[in-house]
Symmetry: C2
Subunit: 156 residues, 2 copies
Amino acid sequence: MKPTNYSNKLDFVDDFSLKIEELGHSRIYGQILGWLLICHPPHQSFSDLVENLSISKASVSNSTRMMLETGLIEKTRVQGERQIYFRIKDGSLIDFMQKQMAHTLSLEHITQKGLELLKSDTETDSTRLKRANAFHHFLAQQLTGLIEKYKIERQS
Amino acid sequence: MKPTNYSNKLDFVDDFSLKIEELGHSRIYGQILGWLLICHPPHQSFSDLVENLSISKASVSNSTRMMLETGLIEKTRVQGERQIYFRIKDGSLIDFMQKQMAHTLSLEHITQKGLELLKSDTETDSTRLKRANAFHHFLAQQLTGLIEKYKIERQS
DNA sequence: TATTTTGTTTAATATGTACTAAACAAACTT
DNA sequence: AAGTTTGTTTAGTACATATTAAACAAAATA
């Protein structure tokens, strides 16, 4: 059973970061992402992150670099200041879906090549591979639709 | 550029396992899974896996236990033999989608609770969190449809 | 009961990653 | 130029995971 409600922003950040960790990233990566979703103002400087999350400068440097590469966040500058600010990038969730689709396409491709190998192998039953291939083909196709659908839904 | 074609089953297994590793599992986990997709016969004993993949018994023991827990593979026995055989479990891909959905629902839930926290915080802009929440809500909803759709498509 | 087969657990190593503090670099201020 | 501020890189530690060989347990066979 999960706790019923968050009593402050860091509670949200903790819960969120644990989930992100479960999905394969580092805890700190999740903390920064979670914080950037709920902080005020929406843009945060390097030292804002260091102080609010009680983490080292190096961790901020590493995790933000990853997130910038992934396109999850972006840098901004504020008029007249020289500090860099980070904020959640608008549209990053669409990018995320597109990345999922890339993986799906890879797996479709790999299983397809596996099937071609089996053509010259009358002995081996290809049912399993055919199913896996059909699955990824199906997913890739449907994901394309989903992405479009979401883009539209998002506008409303 | 990926190699054009596989000249044998282990080529497929290598390629497949690298992708699986990229998706967050161990290399050996991917090797076993890939091998079980393309081997003959479709069921393989403990020592079949050890010998064909050149890995240790302990690795087979660990990785198969994980895959059994996840429901990706299952055990079988063959008439009159006492060895255990492993094979790809039919329907495991549907389980996989359902697991994805569980994650999506978690994130919808977490962001929802984050939004509730913000209700008593007039200062913070909740646009980011609202978007994230709407996204996961959308995904969860659509995934339900996808799963049903795939179940039907699979029958044909 | 003794022996073989089959699979699990343990112990040890290797490898990789997360994280930090401190050194460093770059750019702005004075 | 000298000193701040800001961010990156480096070096080191801690921690987790993957992998194996070998010890072990369980069950079938002889």
